[in-house]
Symmetry: C2
Subunit: 307 residues, 2 copies
C-alpha cells in the first residue's frame, strides 16, 4: 500500500474535517500521513467534536500553533498551511512517501502570511523549476491543459509553437503511460471550431497534427488521436472511447468537466519529480465547523488516484 | 395550434422517415405542412414500407421528380431539398405558416446542385440580409452564439467590439423575451478563464460588462447576468438558475451542450423576419432506409419549440 503525505490545508476551513471523518475509509487503500501536529490536531478535533482515530499518524511539529477561527481568513492559518505543504513536499522529495495530496488552502491567507505563490501548483513549479502539467478529472474522464492561465487572445499563438507542443506531448505521455491500457489512445482536441474545417476556420490544426503524427511515428503506436472536432469531443460516444483528453486551453477542458463531473473531480500535478493530487474545491468556509458534512467524493478520488 | 412548414431535406437521408413515422405525435401539438409533393412522397413511402397517413398535408409541386437512392449524395436530391426549403421560407414570409422547421440536407449535394450556400442558416442570412442569431439547445438549456464560424484567434478581437455586442444583446433579447419567465435572467459567459481574474488573464470582460450594465439599466431589469466564469457556467447549480446562455464563441457553448444533451438538441435561427428551427443532426446516411429507426428526440423538440 502506498504511503501518502496529506498536507492539511487551511485549518479554518473544511480540510481537517475531511481528514478525520474519512480516515477509516482512506486507510483501506493508502497509508495516510497527515501533516499536522498533535497540538493543532487536538484543537481541531475538540472544535469539530470528532474523536482522533488511534492510528491517525501525524508529525511532531509543523509550525507555531494558533487559535482556530472557523471560516476566517488569517495570516496564522495561511502560514501553517504553507508549512504543512512544504513538509509534505520534502517527504516526497526524500522518498519517505510515494506522493502528496493537498487539502485546500485559502489564497488570500497565503498572501496575508507573505507567501508569494498563487497556490500549490505555482509553488511546485518554483520549487522544482519544472513545467508542471495540470490535469483535472476523475476516473471516467481526465483533462490535461496545454495552456492554462493565459488570456484567450494568446491561446492561438501558443498553439502554433510546434516545439512546445511536442514537448508537452512527450512530458504528458511519460507522466501517465502507466495508467494507459494497451491500445488506449489519448484524445487531442482541435483549437478551432470544426477542427478548422480544412483551413477555412483556422489552420493551427495542421501544425498540431504534424506534431502528433511525428510523435506517433516515433513510438510506432497511435498514442495520440489527431485533432478532434471540439464540440463533439466530449459526447457520450467519445467518452466511451477515450479517458484522457488534451484541451488546448483552460475552458475547453474545464467547461465539460465541470458540467459533467463537478463534485468527483480532482486536480493532479504531472511532470514533476514528485506526484501531487488535490481536491478540486476550496476551503468551503460556508460549511466549515458546522453540522453540514463536506462532500467527500473529490477527497477520496484524490487519494484513490494512487491506487 | 400553430401551422409549421416542414422542409423535407435530402430525400436520400433519414428526414422523410422521421416525418412519416412521427406524424401521429407531431400533429398533437402543431399542424404540420410537409413541403414534398405526392410523387416523391409515394416513392419514399414505398421504399420505406411506411403508409402515408390520411391527414399528411403536402404541396402540389416542389421540383422535378427523381429516383431516390438511399444514402447517396446526388445533385437531384440536393436541388429538391433546396426547392423544398425555399417554398417553406416563402410560406412563412407570406404569413401562411407560423414558422418553418428544416429537416437535414447534405451540404455536398447542395454544392453539386450548384447552390452557393453552406447550409440553411447561410441561405437565410442572404435571403433576408439579416444578422441571424444561432441558438442551439433544448428546453433545459439553450445556448446562443455571439461569434460562430470564425477561427479561435479572431474571437477575442470580436469581443472588444462594444457596439456589435450591444446590438447582439438587443437582438437576442427581442427574439426570445416571450420565452422568459418574470425575473428570469440570461447568463452571459466571460471570454477569458476565471472571467479574466481582475484583468490578469485578459480585460475583455470590462468591455462586455459595461455593455451589459448599460443594457440592464436601459430596461431597468437584470435581463443579462454579468460575465460568468466560463468553467462553472454550466455546472448543475448554474443550470438550475439559468436556461438561456450566451457563449462568446462556438465551442464554449457547444462543447457543454453536446456533452450534456447531444440527442435532444435543436438548432434555432433567431433575429430573422421568420422563425426557423431545425434538427441538430445530419442526413444519417448510415441508417437511411434501413430497419434502424432514427432517434426522434431532436425532431420532436424542433417542433415543440413552437408550443
Amino acid at each position: 500500500m502506498k504511503k501518502i503525505a496529506i498536507s492539511i490545508g487551511d485549518l479554518n476551513g473544511i480540510g481537517i474535517a475531511l481528514a478525520l471523518q474519512n480516515h477509516h475509509l482512506v486507510k483501506k487503500f493508502i497509508t495516510p500521513m497527515y501533516i499536522i501536529d498533535k497540538e493543532m490536531l487536538s484543537l481541531a478535533s475538540e472544535l469539530l467534536k470528532l474523536k482522533i482515530p488511534d492510528d491517525f499518524e501525524c508529525v511532531e511539529y509543523v509550525s507555531q500553533g494558533f487559535k482556530i477561527m472557523p471560516s476566517t481568513i488569517s495570516k496564522e492559518s495561511g502560514r501553517y498551511a504553507f508549512e504543512s505543504f512544504k513538509i509534505a513536499v520534502e517527504l516526497a522529495k526524500d522518498g519517505k512517501v510515494d506522493g502528496i495530496m493537498t487539502l485546500p488552502i485559502h489564497k488570500k491567507a497565503w498572501e496575508m502570511a507573505g507567501i508569494n505563490y498563487k497556490g500549490h501548483t505555482d509553488a511546485l513549479r518554483d520549487f522544482f523549476d519544472s513545467e508542471a502539467i495540470m490535469m483535472l478529472g476523475c476516473e471516467k474522464m481526465f483533462v490535461a491543459l496545454y495552456t492554462e492561465h493565459i488570456p484567450l487572445s494568446q491561446v492561438a499563438l501558443e498553439s502554433r509553437d510546434a516545439l512546445k507542443f511536442g514537448r508537452f506531448l512527450e512530458n504528458f505521455y511519460q507522466s501517465i503511460k502507466d495508467k494507459l491500457q494497451i491500445h488506449e489512445s489519448i484524445a487531442v482536441l482541435a483549437l478551432n471550431p470544426h477542427a478548422g474545417d480544412y483551413g477555412v476556420l483556422g489552420d493551427e490544426e495542421k501544425i498540431l497534427n504534424s506534431v502528433i503524427d511525428n510523435f506517433n511515428l516515433k513510438y510506432q503506436k497511435k498514442i495520440f488521436s489527431n485533432t478532434i472536432v471540439p464540440d463533439i469531443a466530449f459526447s457520450q460516444k467519445n467518452r466511451d472511447k477515450y479517458r484522457f483528453f488534451i484541451a488546448m486551453y483552460h475552458d475547453q477542458g474545464l467547461i465539460p468537466l465541470k458540467a459533467l463531473y463537478f463534485e468527483e473531480s480532482i486536480n493532479i500535478s504531472l511532470n514533476l519529480p514528485i506526484l501531487r493530487t488535490s481536491v478540486d474545491h476550496g476551503t468551503a468556509f460556508d460549511i466549515a465547523y458546522t453540522d453540514t458534512l463536506p462532500n467527500n467524493l473529490s477527497y477520496l478520488n484524490a487519494l484513490k488516484y494512487y491506487l
